[in-house]
């Protein structure tokens, strides 16, 4: 399909029809496609494909073996069905597992050498691939000086990383930020030590598949006592048709370090569903802190539920060291199906995990998402704030596990789980699992479900806002606590995204 912008009235087609199509497609702003020559691995997955991916990435033998073992395991597994999700069976042999732009065959030495078409893609998405300051323009920023901030970006396009910015400057601080394929070659000792140490190859169906076929993703290492001098981010773009994206991210925060990492994702608008199965592993040593923020905006499918990304993601942080800390913040607005539970293993004494989530589902979208807080160490703390918003015919489930192990003495959890319904054809579900195996720990759980209030709507409209503006404002207010947890640049984007994802939800 041609990009929506390029839609022109063909002979015999009503101008009005074209306008109508444009405005419908306009709801998802990233639905266009980059026309670029691609190279694919043959369809399907088998040991040969696994070897091929490994070969394309120029990997050492140990990595190939690791993948093959994962594949052998995956073949024996069955796809899980416990989530409150309803989608047609996925034919894992009917898609491509590797797609890379032809121009990336020889890895460009610097961003200057990257195919201008790829650079233009990121520019159109609003992702800075030049090493420049980003100006914050966020609500509440009036009172702050307009100072620029730097954000380093790793840009992943289908199966490959196109380039990573600010690498030299980060290197000076001792920070390693590169694609995982590069890390496997350049820092094998770190990769060998940590890969699969948080999400084992055997963890679950999708993670096992990912271990066999992941093609690229990001790698971060922050050395001891280092505060990463800028925010790091990875921007995932699926472009190719019938192609799954299997990315792998590995973040290691050594003792006493700090990093804030952001992740963004978009994909073109297509009639057929596409698979995305990622694994993110975070290792946090003593006194270190990691903030991981996601704005997930994969194509959600159209108003009739056609197409969209099936998003099966395993994200886990291992707070290994004492007093280590992780904070997950996610804004999930895209994908036709979301299966995602960013988790915290609170192993170190006094370690802390936080999870802030906004999940918006509209039309036929389905989300089954939440977190796991596994308290292993003494005096560990966790906090969960989940805001689910459903509109249209969408279903939204919060699924959360809080587990206090026998040795996790004096630990605390607080969970707040709020659902907001727009209209009466959608659903919200809360599925909390709580296990407490010692008697000095405490778990608190609060849950609410409400509807967008008619009086609030009328109040906003009396002041001049139309229904969609009013809903967006009220929903942003509902989700405020989570939006506030995001870094500034993302908070702004997320606020607008809330409005866009709810288009067509009222009236």
């Amino acid at each position: 399909m041609a990009g929506v912008d390029e839609l022109i009235a063909k002979e015999g087609v009503e101008e009005e029809t074209v306008e109508a199509v444009k405005s419908l497609a306009g709801a998802y702003k990233y639905g266009w496609e980059t026309e670029i020559e691609m190279e694919y691995a043959p369809k399907g997955v088998n040991p040969d494909i696994v070897r091929l991916i490994s070969e394309k990435n120029d990997e050492p033998e140990w990595m190939t073996e690791w993948r093959l073992e994962a594949f052998a395991r995956w073949e024996k597994l069955e796809e899980p069905s416990w989530a409150l999700l309803n989608y047609p069976e996925i034919d894992f042999q009917d898609q491509y597992y590797y797609a890379r732009p032809k121009s990336m065959e020889e890895k460009p030495k610097s961003l200057d050498e990257v195919d201008p078409k790829l650079l233009a893609t990121y520019e159109k998405l609003g992702i800075p691939l030049k090493e420049q300051m980003i100006l914050a323009g966020v609500e509440g920023a009036e009172d702050m000086p307009a100072e620029g901030r730097k954000v380093a970006v790793d840009a992943v396009f289908d199966s490959v990383s196109v380039g990573t910015t600010f690498q030299a400057e980060l290197k000076k601080a001792g920070v390693i930020f590169c694609s995982i394929s590069e890390a496997i070659k350049e820092h094998p000792e770190l990769v060998k030590k940590y890969l699969g140490s948080v999400v084992p190859v055997s963890d679950n169906y999708y993670a096992t598949l990912n271990s066999a076929v992941f093609s690229d993703g990001s790698f971060v290492y922050i050395p001891p006592n280092t505060r990463c001098p800028m925010e790091l981010s990875t921007y995932f773009r699926i472009n190719a048709e019938n192609t799954g994206q299997f990315e792998r991210t590995l973040i290691i925060a050594d003792k006493g370090s700090y990093v804030s990492y952001l992740e963004g994702c978009t994909a073109p608008q297509r009639d057929t569903a596409q698979l995305h199965a990622a694994v993110v592993e975070i290792i946090i040593e003593e006194d270190a802190e990691v903030k991981y923020s996601t704005v997930q905006n994969w194509f959600p499918g159209d108003e009739e539920g056609k197409g969209g990304i099936y998003n099966f993601v395993t994200k886990r942080a291992d707070c290994r060291g004492d007093r280590s800390k992780v904070m997950w913040t996610q804004v999930e607005t895209g994908s036709a199906v979301t299966w995602k539970y960013p988790s915290c293993i609170l192993r170190g004494a006094e370690s802390q995990g936080e999870f802030y989530s906004i999940a918006i589902t509209n039309n036929y979208q389905q989300a089954d998402t939440g977190t796991k807080m596994v308290h292993l160490g003494r005096d560990t703390k966790s906090r969960i704030v989940s805001k689910g918003i459903s509109a249209g015919k969408a279903q939204n489930t919060y699924r959360g596990l809080v587990s206090m192990h026998p040795k996790a003495k004096n630990s605390r959890n607080y969970t707040q789980c709020d659902s907001l319904l727009i209209g009466d054809k959608c659903g919200a579900h809360t599925v909390p699992y709580i296990e407490v195996k010692n008697n000095s720990s405490r778990v608190e759980h609060e849950a609410t479900t409400s509807k967008v209030d008619e009086e609030q709507m009328f109040y906003c409209r009396q002041r001049g806002m139309d229904e969609e503006e009013a809903v967006a404002l009220i929903v942003n207010g509902f989700a405020k606590e989570v939006l506030q947890a995001l870094p500034m640049e993302f908070a702004m984007e997320a606020q607008q995204l809330v409005a866009i994802s709810l288009e067509g939800s009222v009236g």
Binding site: E139, G140, E142, D453, E454, E455, Q456, F458, Y459, C460, R461, Q462, R463, G464, M465, D466, E467, E469, L473, I474, N476, G477, F478, A479, K480, E481
Partner: protein, 252 residues
């Protein structure tokens, strides 16, 4: 300005008639007051004019500067210059007062084909208006009406009115629950907005508000109709004798 002609309104869901033939005309630049016993339909009138759901107009019409009000969406009426200061302003958790105001101001500008107000201009504008109403920076940042005292809520309504610069302002019992000082602030806020191009319809139970905001005409509403109209002295009569005499006079 505002013309209401034989307006009949019933509840949408049940067969209950509330307004039974309201006739009212408020010319440009004038202040009209409506008084009347509880349950006589004053709030209903303000809701129907501003387009709230739940009511059905069975007869009659209402125009603002010749434009048919009842055919418009609530936000179109707002953009056309109709403003309602609510008797019970709602709370909107998580939405900063300032964000709310800015969204409203820009929504109306957009609807009228005007350019959005820049962040800097807006800030200057809102700070100046807030100062007059003794609304501090903290109240501007807090979520809309959440945890506001009764007086703060009403002052906030007047702030919104001042920011939106409507031409037809309806105030529904804005004075109820206000102490003397707050009442003074609110009336000063209203008086500052009085202008030959702007009209007011002030719904109240009490003469004391009308001491501050001098009405041109006072109407008495009872059982869904305007039963008597007169000058400011009519308000005094109500204050002194209650509604009983007036109602008896009409029944007779």
């Amino acid at each position: 300005m505002l013309k209401i002609n034989n307006l009949h309104v019933k509840l949408e869901e049940e067969d209950k008639r509330i307004l039974k033939g309201v006739d009212l005309e408020v010319p440009a630049g004038k202040v009209h007051a409506i008084m009347g016993p509880n349950g006589s339909g004053k709030s209903t009138l303000s809701y129907v004019l501003s387009g709230r759901d739940g009511y059905e107009v069975t007869e009659g019409d209402a125009t603002l500067d010749g434009e048919e009000l009842l055919d418009m969406e609530p936000e179109e009426r707002a953009a056309a210059g109709l403003f309602l200061a609510f008797q019970y302003p709602v709370e909107i958790p998580g939405v900063g007062n300032m964000t709310f105001l800015r969204t409203a101001v820009n929504a109306q500008r957009k609807a009228r084909g005007e350019e959005e107000m820049s962040a800097a201009d807006f800030l200057k504008f809102v700070r100046a208006k807030a100062k007059d109403l003794k609304i501090d920076a903290d109240m501007l940042k807090r979520p809309v009406n959440v945890g506001f005292s009764g007086g703060e809520k009403k002052r906030n309504e007047i702030l919104q009115m001042a920011m939106l610069e409507p031409k037809m302002c309806i105030l529904d019992e804005t004075d109820s629950g206000l102490d003397v000082d707050a009442m003074k602030l609110v009336s000063e806020g209203v008086n500052a907005l009085r202008d030959e191009g702007r009209s007011f319809l002030v719904i109240t139970h009490y003469q004391r508000l009308l001491d501050h905001i001098k009405p041109d005409v006072v109407h008495i509403m009872a059982a869904g109709r305007i039963v008597k109209s007169g000058g400011p002295e009519l308000a005094l009569e109500v204050e002194n004798n209650g509604y009983a005499d007036i109602l008896a006079e009409i029944d007779a």
